[in-house]
Symmetry: C2
């Protein structure tokens, strides 16, 4: 099959023929139809997350079940599915308490790859998936079924960016109707945090970014107020927009320490800061002063928007079908696999919400 292989960090991916094995027990082989480019792929391909080439990135995908391994019960050949990086065993002490996104189970796929290149070298499946390729083999728990009528490109976005942003609001923080919300960063994740706040009935919903064009997009996704951080003292501006005390919830969807620090400062007493954006590995994030204690604030890390695929994906699909969840609007451009380097360069230039690789 064709795949876009990273042989050296920060160098163009090599689109070439590689070998993919058959799925083993509990595993499923998917024919990939669409795979979006997420910033986590960029981190991985820059070498910021410690994995070593050769590897295939891509983890925000949708496609069709091609072949199932022994013991697979949740999907059948021909099912349309999204392919996520949330691998869960269902039996560990995190899955058992309803946190499959923190699964501590051990999988063969944690240690083995089903990919080899023409020289016989093992190729790592990046971010537990490896979907910049015509096929991918993942654990059955990483899949969620979608209706056949749903476009693959739109569906692929549900696999990571949408649930990460939207879930950080609806699941991690469990924002309630009437809560005040600020979102720092209005990229793919930030827009979905805004969208989640709008769906939850939050008000005001304050979008913060440095580009007016992105803030306009934020308004389309539900922001009621916008702040250009280049021109304004962000913390004071947020306080002014939330009766002087700050918002109840602030979401940091970009990994810059400065943004995270601001997100801890702009919440009111008893307020919650949710850290959503992933910085490079091991980067120290922020410090908190004594006001954090006296004002009873909290900070939560949101992993994959605390998403339970089986529960959350069907509801998001319903909202999409009802016209209440924007997905198509997140897609900037579509590219064939052969043009993946161009697609990534466009993301790096900050031009795209989501660029999607489309397969035949």
């Amino acid at each position: 099959m064709k795949a876009a292989v990273c042989y050296e960090f920060n160098q163009p991916l090599v689109v070439e023929e590689i070998h993919i094995d058959a799925p083993q027990a509990g595993e499923v082989k998917i024919r990939i139809s669409a795979c979006a480019i997420c910033h986590s792929d960029i981190h991985l391909l820059k070498g910021e997350w410690g994995h070593q080439p050769p590897l295939v990135a891509g983890h925000e995908a949708a496609g069709v079940v091609e072949e199932i391994g022994p013991g697979v019960t949740e999907v059948q050949t021909g099912d349309h599915v999204i392919v996520t990086l949330i691998r869960s065993c269902g039996r560990c002490r995190f899955c058992t308490i309803g946190r499959p996104f923190n699964c501590a189970g051990d999988f063969k796929l944690d240690h083995e790859s089903r990919l080899r290149n023409a020289k016989g070298e093992a190729i790592t499946q990046g971010i537990k998936t490896g979907a910049f390729a015509q096929y991918a083999i993942v654990d059955q728990s990483q899949l969620a079924k979608i209706p056949e009528a749903m476009p693959f490109a739109s569906a692929s976005l549900l696999a990571c960016g949408v649930i990460t942003g939207l879930g950080s609001v609806t699941r991690t923080a469990q924002v309630k109707q009437g809560s005040s919300v600020a979102v720092i960063g209005t990229g793919g994740v930030g827009l979905n945090a805004i969208q989640g706040a709008a769906l939850s009935g939050a008000t005001p919903i304050i979008a913060i970014d440095v580009l007016d064009s992105k803030l306009e997009a934020a308004r389309r996704f539900g922001a009621t107020e916008t702040i250009n951080a280049e021109r304004t003292n962000v913390v004071e501006a947020v306080q002014d927009l939330s009766d002087g005390y700050g918002v109840e919830y602030a979401f940091a969807t970009v990994g810059h320490p400065e943004a995270i620090m601001q997100a801890t400062r702009m919440v009111r007493k008893g307020g919650t800061t949710v850290i959503v954006g992933m910085p490079a590995s091991d980067q120290a994030l922020f410090t908190i002063d004594t006001h954090f204690i006296t004002e009873g604030r909290q900070v939560i890390g949101s992993n994959m928007g605390s998403t339970r695929l089986l529960v959350d994906i069907p509801r998001l699909i319903e909202l999409y079908a009802q016209g209440r969840l924007k997905l198509d609007e997140l897609i900037s451009n579509r590219y064939p696999l052969e043009q993946i380097n161009e697609a990534i360069a466009s993301v790096l230039r900050g031009e795209a919400l989501r660029n999607v690789i489309m397969f035949d």
Copy 2:
């Protein structure tokens, strides 16, 4: 009346006659019967919290209502009460949502003092109280009634240390039966966090300190496991005691940045670190790495154990009467006001859980 006045930081308090006014609208004058010495008093008297002398510290007190100001509805002359620093208006947007401990109301007592010395100088009422004195004037919201039979010294501890430690577990974190808990620091606040964990049915309850004698006390207050931090890698030891993953809740009851950092490391995925101990003003507390996000952890600042006096104090008094809440055991020594400097020195030497100043 007699009061112990601080004229210079880090110098002995001066016990002298000073003048106290009559209570104004909504205010109550209390004849102090007992006032415990809390570490916050020490911070204040070292000049670490930015207030200026002359001032009277003392904020963990109990006594008898001597005189009520106009409009006071909640207590009557002769009522036995505890005197706390939680001043709440009942009408602001924090009181309204059940967070009186974050009250944003404005009080005359925030800007004025009812104390003057013989020279006519205004003397600040430290930590909203000023109870190292025979009388104190506070807002009626700072009081909670106690039964006449309850000893004042034991009751005084409910005003700050007990609710701060116990409430951080039962109210801020809302620990549930069967949860795993670690408590760093086993001073007055830490022992009460342990006591709160025991009352909540937590298991294991891991106490961490550097003195074996304090760890023995921790066992008496409900710790099921103890770790001497001088001899052990604390984070690994906690993980070993909680099936390898760490505890669900860790409470940092000492303000040292190192302890706080450990408390963020010893919780499992999805776990909660509660910061209870107050360091000196504006001291940066800690940094958090990317694991905080990927593992979906959270950090909460606990202000006064998120205590609602009207709800929580009567229940704690019931538990005390039933023999289920230890208060008497927290009292190390009793001193008359004239020996307050000796009582403080004993606290500074780490000898005391709580030293209590007793008035006639």
